[in-house]
Symmetry: D2
Subunit: 345 residues, 4 copies
C-alpha cells in the first residue's frame, strides 16, 4: 500500500537524522537554551527579516496553538476563526480547556474573509449587550488552510489592517506553511507573514521534521512576556530542547525548508493535473500539497486496493470527496503509480 492520506507518515529528512547522529554525545544545556536552538533562532530571525523576533519551539501544532492563545487572552476574551479552523474542530477543545471561546465564523474555501470578520466586529461593538458576550481579542487563521487553500498577500493585508483597527492579535497557524510558501501562485513570503501577523508558527512536523513547530513573535512588543512559564505550565517545554533546535537548524540551512516544500508541491501538481485531465472535479481548488478530488465510488473502491487516502463519509451520493496528500518524503515513483491508475479512470 502506498500512503497518500497524510503528510506525516515517515520519519524525517535525512539531513536531520545526520545532524542528530553527529551531535548525539555533545553535552548541552536544556529546555531550549542549547546551542542548536540558539542557532536555529538566528536563522529563523534572518529568514523572517526580524532580528529581534522571539522564537520558541513547541513539539506539535495543537500545543503551539494552545500555548500561544492561552498566553495572550484574558479570561473573558475569545479567538475568532473560520468554522473549519483546526482549533474549532480537531483539537478536542484545547482552546476551551484553557477557558476561552472559539468564535467560529463562516468560512469560504477554508478561509476567513475580511468582510466576514469586519461584519462580526462591527456588530459586536454596536451591540449594547456586548459586555455580556465573549470579547474578541485574537484572530486565528491557518495558511495553507485545512482545505489546502492559501490566503493571498492582499487578503492577509486586509485582515491585518482590521485587526489593527480593532486591537486584535493576528495569529497564523503555519502547520503546512512550508508547502504554502512554495505553492503555485503564492504571492507572499515569510517576511510578509512576519509583517502582517503578531505571532505565527512555522510548521516542522509536516514539512520534514520528526516533530516541532517554531513559534515566532516577530514584533518588538513584549507580547511574549513570561511565555516560557506558560509554555512550561502547559507541559510544552521539552527537556532535551536540542531535538527541536537541531531540526529547525537543519531545515533553515541551505534552503532545505524551501527545497522540501517545492518537492511536495511538484508532486501534488502532477496528481492534480492527472485528475483534471480525466475531467475529475475538485471540492476546492487547492494550490498546495493537499488535493480534494471528488471521485466516483467505483474508482474509490479500486484505488483502495493500492493506495491509502482519506474519503469523506458516504451520505448516499454517487461520488465522494477524497483527499490525497504529498509531502517532503513523497517518492516520485509512487506518484507515477498513482497517475497510471488515474489515467485508467
Amino acid at each position: 500500500m502506498i500512503k497518500f492520506d497524510c503528510d506525516y507518515s515517515e520519519g524525517c529528512h535525512p539531513n536531520i537524522l545526520k545532524k542528530m547522529i553527529d551531535t548525539n554525545f555533545v553535552q548541552t544545556d536544556t529546555y531550549g537554551f542549547d546551542v542548536y536552538c540558539q542557532s536555529a533562532i538566528q536563522k529563523i530571525r534572518k529568514a523572517c527579516g526580524k532580528p529581534n523576533a522571539r522564537v520558541y519551539f513547541a513539539v506539535g501544532g495543537t500545543q503551539a496553538n494552545k500555548v500561544v492563545i492561552a498566553s495572550i487572552l484574558r479570561p473573558h476574551q475569545g479567538v475568532i476563526c473560520a468554522e473549519s479552523g483546526h482549533i474549532n474542530v480537531h483539537e478536542a477543545g484545547a482552546i476551551e480547556s484553557d477557558g476561552h471561546k472559539v468564535i467560529a465564523l463562516a468560512q469560504k474555501d477554508g478561509k476567513l474573509t475580511a468582510a466576514t470578520l469586519k461584519a462580526y466586529l462591527e456588530d459586536f461593538w454596536a451591540d449594547p449587550t456586548h459586555p455580556h458576550r465573549v470579547q474578541p481579542r485574537m484572530v486565528y487563521i491557518s495558511s495553507p488552510t485545512e482545505l489546502g487553500t492559501l490566503y493571498s498577500k492582499k487578503e492577509l493585508q486586509e485582515i491585518s489592517s482590521i485587526c489593527k483597527k480593532y486591537k486584535l492579535v493576528l495569529y497564523l497557524d503555519g502547520a503546512r506553511l512550508g508547502y504554502g510558501l512554495q505553492a503555485d501562485g503564492a504571492d507572499f513570503t515569510l517576511r510578509d507573514i512576519a509583517n502582517f501577523t503578531d505571532v505565527f508558527y512555522i510548521g516542522g512536523t509536516k514539512v520534514g521534521a520528526l516533530c516541532g513547530e517554531a513559534i515566532v513573535f516577530p514584533k518588538d512588543n513584549n507580547l511574549d512576556e513570561d511565555f516560557f512559564s506558560i509554555f512550561k505550565q502547559e507541559g510544552a517545554v521539552m527537556a532535551k530542547g536540542r531535538l527541536l533546535g537541531i531540526q529547525f537548524d537543519v531545515l533553515f540551512t541551505d534552503n532545505l525548508y524551501e527545497t522540501v516544500g517545492r518537492h511536495a508541491i511538484k508532486e501534488a501538481m502532477r496528481i492534480k493535473k492527472a485528475f483534471k485531465a480525466k475531467g475529475i472535479k475538485f471540492a476546492v481548488n487547492s494550490p498546495t500539497n493537499q488535493q480534494f478530488p471528488i471521485l466516483p465510488k467505483e474508482v474509490i473502491k479500486k484505488f483502495k486496493k493500492q493506495f491509502v487516502f482519506d474519503i469523506a463519509p458516504d451520505l448516499g451520493q454517487d461520488r465522494l470527496m477524497t483527499r490525497f496528500c504529498t509531502s517532503w518524503a513523497t517518492k516520485p515513483e509512487d506518484v507515477d503509480v498513482l497517475i497510471k491508475e488515474i489515467e485508467k479512470i
Copy 2:
C-alpha cells in the same frame, strides 16, 4: 417612563417580602441547610412529582448553568445548544471558562430541533476522527427560549429520547419557566419536565423573586454527586441560604408561581392582540411574556418618549424588531397606556 424592556425591573412579590419580615430574626442554619430551604425543597419535589429529587438553590441563571454543566462534564466533553442559546451568547463565556466547548447548532425560532440534534450526533459518531473532536455529552435547551417560544411536549419527548440513545444528559434552563407553564397552548407540566430531563432549573429571578433559581435533579441516578462542593467552588453557595429558601417556599405556596405566571401571560397577550389588530408583524410567534413586534421607525421614535423597550440594531431597514416584556409585576394600567398608543399606529 414605563418599562417593558425586561421582566426583572422590580423587587419581588409582596408575599415574599412579608415572609422575609416575619422570619427576619429567626436563627437558622446556613449554606442552604435552613428550615426554609428544606420546606421549599419538599414543595418543589411535590410539584415535580419526584419525592427523591435533589434540589439546590442558586442565586442566578448564569451561575446555575455554569455549575450544573461544570459538575457533569469531563474535560473533553461539550454541551450542545441552539446557536441562540443563552450559554452561547450572553454569559460572557461562562461555560468555556470552566473548560467546555459550547457546541452551537442551528436554531429554529430559538429552538434546537430533534432533527438537527440527531444529524449532528450521527455525523459525529460516524466520523473516524471523532476522538480528536469535543465529545457531545449534554444538551442544553431553554424553554421558554430566548425568543419567547416554547418546546411542545412532543418536541421535549423527541429530544429526550435522542439524548437517551446517545447517552447525553438533557438540561433545561427554565429562567422563564413560570411564564412558559402558563402560556397559551403550553401542553406540558412541571412533571413532564421532571420526566424528560436529567436536570433543570426553575427560574425565580424573573418570576417574582428578588433572586434565585431552583436546580432540580429529578432522577435517582447520583448525577449530583458532590454537587455541593462544586457549587461552593464556583462561589455559588449562599451563606444565608434562607434568602433563597424563603423565596421558593413562598412561590410554591398557594400556587403563587402559577398565579404570577398567568398574570404576565395575560398582559402579554393583551399587548400582542393590540399589535396584531393594527397589522403589525412579529419576528417570532411567541406565546409567552416576551413579544417581538417589528415596528416602523416613526412608531419606535414616538413610543420611546413614554416607554422603555428593546430595539434591534438599525442596519438600514424601515422597520426594526423590538421586544416588549411583561412580568409578575406588570400593572394592567400601564398596559392600558401602551395599548392606547398601539391603537394610534
Copy 3:
C-alpha cells in the same frame, strides 16, 4: 437554643428591610446600573476617601475572591496567602478552579507576616529555576483574619511596601471588616485600607446584610479593566443588582455600618471578659467578634444543651478549642444567659 456559632444566622438589619419594602415597585435598570447601586457607590467612595474608586457588588465572599483574583492574574501567576487563609482552606478550590495556585505560607495568629512574605519573595527571585515555578503576583490577606485577629496599621504598611517593591497586587478580604474597624485597639480606618491595598472588599453578608460584598478598586490604575465581563462570566452579576445596591446604600447611611459593628464587638468583649474572669485561656487573642476559648470537655457538654457554638475535633485532649461569634443581631439578653453560664464554670 441560642446560636453563637456564626455571624450570619439571621436575616438583615431592619433598616435594609424597610428600604426594600419602600422601593419594591420602583422600576430600575438591571445588572448593577440602578440608582441604588449608584448611590451606594458614591457613599462607599466617600467613606474610603477615593472619589474615583471603582466599586462592584458581589453576592458572597468566595465569589468576590474568585472573580477579583481571576480578573487580575495571568495563567502562570499565583496568589500568596497565609496557610489559614479562607481561599486556601474553605473555598473548595475556587481559586485553583480558575487555574491559579494558592501559594500558602506559614501563618502567625492567622496572619501573614511581612518577614515571611519577604523571605519567600527573595528566595523565589534568587532561584534560577523560578521560571519553572508559579510566579507570585498577588497577596491575599483577610482582616479580621479567620482567627479573629487584626493586622495593625504598621503591619499593613509593611506588607503594602513589600508588594510595591515586588510589583504584587495587594488584596484584602474584608468579610468581617465591619467588626475589625470597631475592634478594641484597631488603629486603621477604611481610608487606610484604601491607601494600602490595590483592591479589597467590604463585607456585607456577615455585617447586617442578607448578602453582598462591595469590591473596591481604590486606585486610578485600570486594574478593573473589563471587570464586568469577567464578573458576568463567573456567574456573579446579579440581574436585580438593586438588591445589593439597596443594602449597601442603607449600611453606609447614618453610620449604620459602624453602629452594627460596634454592637457586635461590645457583646463579644463581654463574653471574652467573662471567660477570662474564670481563668479560661484562649487559642488566640482576638479583639473582634469571634472568640476562641479553650474549654474543658465537661463545660462543653453542659453548654451544648443551651447554646450552639463551634468545637474543634477531639483528638484526645482534656480541653478543646471552641468558637463563639457575636454579630450585628446578637441580643444582649442572649449574651446575659451565656455569661451567667460562664460564671458557673
Copy 4:
C-alpha cells in the same frame, strides 16, 4: 567542562538512533497507532506483568502528570503530594492550570509517609466542613523522588493500602524509574509498581531516550476512559507517534532499560564513595543517580572550573548543598576525572 548537572544533557542511546535510521522511510499510521508503538506497548505490558495494561506515550513528564491528573479528577478534587513533589514546585502550576489544587503535605527525605497521608485523610473526613474543602482523590508520589530517594516496597504497600481504603487513585511519577529500579537496595520491581499503583509512568527522557514517557494504566478498571481525547486536548498527542514508539520499543528490547539504568547507578556510586571517603556529608542518603554532597565553598569554587553541577543558594553558610547527576550517557573517564579531584579535597 564536564556536565554533571542533569541526566538529560545528551541525545539518546545509539540503539535508538539506529532504529530511527533503519525505519525512517517506513510509512506508518499516526497519533500512536503505528507498529512501533504497538510493539512497545506489548513489551511494556510484559515487563509489568499486565497483559491488558493500557499504555500511552507522552513527550515529557510535566505533560504526563498534567494529562493523567486532569483526566481523572472532577473539578472539586485535588491531588495529594509531598511538598517537594515536582507537581508542587517545578511545573509552573500545570496542575492548577487544569483547575485542581495540589494538596502539599510535609515530606521526609523527599517522600510522603504513610503516617502523614493517613493523618491528613482522617482529619479531612472528620472535619464537618469538609464539603467546603478540596476533596482528596489522588495521591502523587515520585520514585526516585526529587531528592534521589526511593520508596521501599513496604512503603509503597502501605500507601497503596491507605489509597484503597480512602478510594484514592495512586499515581507514581517514574521520571527516573529506570535508575530507581537498579539502585542499591531497591526491593521492588516494575511488576510491584504495576500492582500497587493505579497509574504510573516509565520515564524515557532521563533514561536514554530523546524524549518520551510511557503512561501505564495497569488495572482493568476503565480509569483511562476517553484518555486519548483528553490527551489530544492537552496538546500531548504526537502526530508522528512513531518517534515515541521506536524509542520505547528499543528501550524494552534486550533489557536495554535495565542496562542503562545500571550504568548510571554504578557511576553514581563511585562518586558517592569518593566523597564519603573524604568525610563529606550528604544532604540526603540517595541510592540513585543523583547525589547531594554538602561541599565547602572553596571546593565548590575549584570544582566549578572543570565541572558543571547544581549548587543551592548561598544563604551565608560555609558549606552548600550541591547536586551531581550521572546518566545512561555518563562516561566512566569523566567520572575518573571527577574522582581524582574529589580525592584532592
